[in-house]
Amino acid sequence: MKLTKQKNRGGLVSLAALLAMVAVAVLLSGCTGAPATAVEPEPEVVLEPEAAEQPSDQVVAESATAEPADTESWSIALRGVREDLLEAARFQEAKVHTSHYVEMELERKGQTRVYRGMPLYLIAAMVDGSDSEHPYTVDRSRWSEGYDITITGADGYSATFSTAEVDPKDLILVDSVDGAPVAPMTAGNASGKLWVKEVVEIELALAAVASEEPQFELVLDINSKISSFTLEELEQSIFYVEQPGSYTTSAGSTYGGLWGGVRMSDFLGQFLNLKPETSLTMVAMDGYEMTYSGKDVLDAGDGVWVLAFKLDGEYLPMDPGYVRTIKVGPENPNIAGHSSVRMLQKIVIKQEGYRDFSITVSGKMDWTLDRQTIQSGVSCHKRIVDFERKDKAARYTGIPLYLLLAYADDPDYAPHHQTDKSILSYSKETARAGYTVEIEAADGFVVSLDSQEVDGNEDLILGMYKNGEELPSDEFPLILVWDKNAETVPAGAKPIRQIAAIRLIF
């Protein structure tokens, strides 16, 4: 309906109706008096401007009631690759160059006027590159390729255009109209939206990508409700404390100091009723995951768990910071290194309870591996397999079995427990020489495998998650599975569930 031609049918019909009515009116004229004429208008009546509805939003520069615009000491902020300020005095200096000051005769609102000013592209040149003083190189190719320019007036009005759609000569920054000085405005052979009065800013969308790092936020995912906190917010929390604590790595190195952070149980207690059976998964920025039980977090016996982001008064850097979980207290508690999650990004809490477990690995050494150790291994050596058996398929996430054999395949070296990292804890040579790997379930069921077929076999894993979730009760805590396309499936392999022990028989 924007532009509809007068419908011919309707027009002809309407004309016929009109003529018919005129004819009938003539017929009736003997009874009614002088004929009405629907065509001849009365002479034009012009309403004086002051009688017309004055729009209240328009700041009319000529209006006697409006504050007179500054025509002499104005300044325009320029933003682009660099920032600058175009002041009236500087503008006056530039005008002496004939190429910098042009004249355009333009019609607007029924009136033709002479506008004088500087082509906008010359002003853009001040900030479209690294030139910081005159002469500024005009980057015409960039103008042709197109970038956005936003012009803002003193009343807040902002309009943006792409330089690719405007000829450089068509838009000028005006300081004179019909010889009278005006506050700087943009005008030209361009859309009315680009006629901006009292320009205060011209911005080119050419700024370099912001170098500042995005602000870090610690994310809480509590029963799928997401909230996030900046370090600043955490430090302002009433749960912020500064107390000593330390952690010791598997290699025996201890790191400690005065940690600043929020008490985890109190902080999280704002969002849920933290119970001993609650499961809290800490997710690091590099994907590492560690699960704590609510019992761990609530236990304040030798110290409290904090989400620490300061050490000895300094903010933790991104690596290994920004946030680390650590236990602190007046007694300077110490924890195992793998329990302290560094680069913490997110805490995920779901309503189902935390289930702890441990398995034994025995052979030339004997170890009991707790849930956190296994989970740490899964995070570091994650392997996902698509397992199929008897027409049932599932995707399992876990750790290759052979890596756990490293705990018991020699009397000296175990994963993450030697200081000499040049020595691999896993003994490939021993595996190739051959030994039996027995895997026992909680109910005593045993599966026996040949180490030669387990050696280096990335497709044979102890699965800890099924289809992205914790294992169901009948498989928990670990299940032996393998990829459906595995090159080698050890003889005797069965998907043994509820694994409780691994024994190496030499």
């Binding site: 532009l3 007068q6 009116a25 017309a52 255009f161």
Partner: protein
């Protein structure tokens, strides 16, 4: 039949059989549109006409979109009138064509009525902008899209409307990434500090807010500038289950009345909570602070004080209600669930809940917030405005403005807020609402005593800080004095 009767019958027959040309529209000398009487009638609604209302349509829906217009020539059968001014197009949304019967339309410009208009000629610049992207949120999206569709069809422009749950953060993310923002976004008051600081939106001081109710005019002001045009607002109300109260709360009731009704519930319905709301949120505390004597939530210097007597009294009062088992504190979802299952007699919620409760078939009544005492101040409900902000980097600033003017016009203001029991911002629409909205008296009272949600950053800081502390107060872990003292320290530190 006499010749005269025959002629009269013929005229009437012709007039009925063939529609007459009602209105011709010309732009810069060219005929661009012809409106027939029937077409205009189909689009019409109530428009202000003198002391009352008439069926009509606003001029911005009839005329082509113009970037600017400096002259209107209005012709009727008997005269021509010329209007000349700098920016006539800015007024089109508040000038109207009103039906005068018999296919005739009068033009209403303020108090002046120009009868039987047959043509309008505009001299000005047609609007070249023809597409817009708008982000919307909150309730009533399908109905809102219908309003945009109407505008789009009338003016043959393309409007892409996208529902975005969290507009503030998404807009800032897009700008940081160097992406193209939408032209118009729907905002609420507490979006302003972040959007203004990130230079996402432009100041709208060049627009007129005269047609709005007074409380709406400054509802999106920050640092002395207006940053959005209000569209509608919700107000906080007390909802009650009429089956559980001894009587309906009167319009002008007091806290003592409220407690008496609550006591009645406690005695008669032992398993039912007399009152329940999310008192952990400062959004619901503010009304009590203001009722108990606080003059303004945000001080003139942009700070917030919560260690004052009014806040202490307000929080102590709520704690006392809880201790007397007249108030149970729950978060919103639980509160709604309990109210729906008639386990709670009175709750505090926003007028946005009215359509939900109607849809659920829950028995409910609404009451305005009570006074502290019969001769005292009223608890001051928050007036939660939603409005339209224009992106600073829009390619279509004038089309954006025209759409916003249309949304604030009496047509949309009648159609959209009324259907959702929201409150219009257009003054004339309020007069129409009086006759059409079942809850008018309560809503009007709430609008009268209410205060707009603050736009200052301090309010956001205050809300976030109190969220943690109020839990400690209601759980008994902190006293009122301790919590307010600690809260003041935290707020002051964050605002430094």
């Amino acid at each position: 039949m006499s010749l005269k009767s025959f002629a009269l019958t013929l005229v009437l027959a012709l007039y009925t059989a063939f529609p007459s040309i009602s209105l011709e529209i010309r732009l810069n000398g060219q005929l661009v549109q012809t409106w027939e009487d029937g077409e205009l009638e189909k689009l019409s609604y109530l428009v202000p006409a003198g002391p009352g209302f008439s069926t009509g349509i606003s001029l911005d829906e009839v005329l082509p979109l113009c970037a600017s217009a400096y002259r209107l020539v209005i012709s009727s059968n008997s005269e021509r009138r010329i209007l000349e001014a700098e920016e006539l197009a800015e007024n089109f949304a508040s000038w109207y064509l009103a039906t005068a019967g018999g296919g005739s339309w009068d033009l209403l410009i303020g108090q002046e009525r120009l009868p039987d208009v047959r043509s309008i000629e505009i001299l000005g610049e047609p609007l070249e902008e023809d597409q817009l992207e708008i982000w919307v949120s909150w309730e009533g999206i399908p109905l809102l899209k219908e309003q945009f569709r109407r505008f789009s069809n009338l003016h043959d422009v393309k409007i892409k409307v996208t529902e975005v749950p969290r507009i503030e953060t998404k807009l800032i993310s897009i700008l940081r990434a160097g992406g193209r923002p939408p032209d118009v976004v729907m905002v609420q008051s507490d979006y302003l500090p972040a959007l203004v600081q990130s230079r996402a939106i432009q100041s709208l001081d060049y627009l007129s807010f005269e047609a709005l109710i007074p409380k709406a005019r400054r509802s999106f002001s920050l640092d002395g500038k207006s940053w959005a045009v209000p569209f509608y607002f919700d107000c906080q109300l007390l909802f009650y289950n009429p089956r559980l109260l001894d009587e309906a709360p009167p319009l002008d009731w007091t806290l003592a009345d409220m407690e008496r009704l609550a006591q009645g519930v406690k005695i008669r319905f032992p398993g039912v909570a007399p009152m329940n709301w999310n008192a952990y949120s400062a959004y619901w505390l503010a009304a009590f602070q203001l009722g108990f004597g606080k003059q303004k939530l945000v001080e003139a210097d942009g700070s917030i004080r919560i260690d004052d007597a009014a806040t202490r009294t307000a929080l102590s009062y709520l704690l006392d209600l809880q201790n007397r088992e007249l108030l149970v504190v729950s978060e919103r979802e639980a509160m709604i669930s309990l109210f729906a299952s008639e386990k709670v007699a009175m709750i505090l919620s926003g007028s946005y809940s009215i359509p939900l409760f109607e849809e659920l078939g829950i028995p409910f009544g609404v009451a305005a917030y009570p006074r502290i005492r019969a001769d005292g101040r009223s608890l001051a409900p928050f007036l939660d405005f939603k409005g339209w902000a224009i992106s600073r980097r829009t390619y279509s600033p004038i089309l954006a403005r025209r759409v916003i003017q249309y949304l604030g016009g009496i047509g949309t203001q009648q159609r959209f807020p009324a259907a959702l029991s929201k409150l219009p911002v257009n003054q004339d629409a309020w007069k129409i609402m009086r006759q059409k909205n079942f809850y008018y008296s309560v809503l009007a009272r709430s609008a009268e005593t209410g205060v707009p949600v603050p736009t200052e950053r301090a309010y956001g800081v205050y809300k976030n800080t109190m969220w943690k502390l109020l839990r400690f107060v209601f759980s008994g872990q902190m006293s009122v004095a301790e919590a307010l003292k600690e809260g003041q320290r935290i707020i002051a530190a964050q605002l430094e």
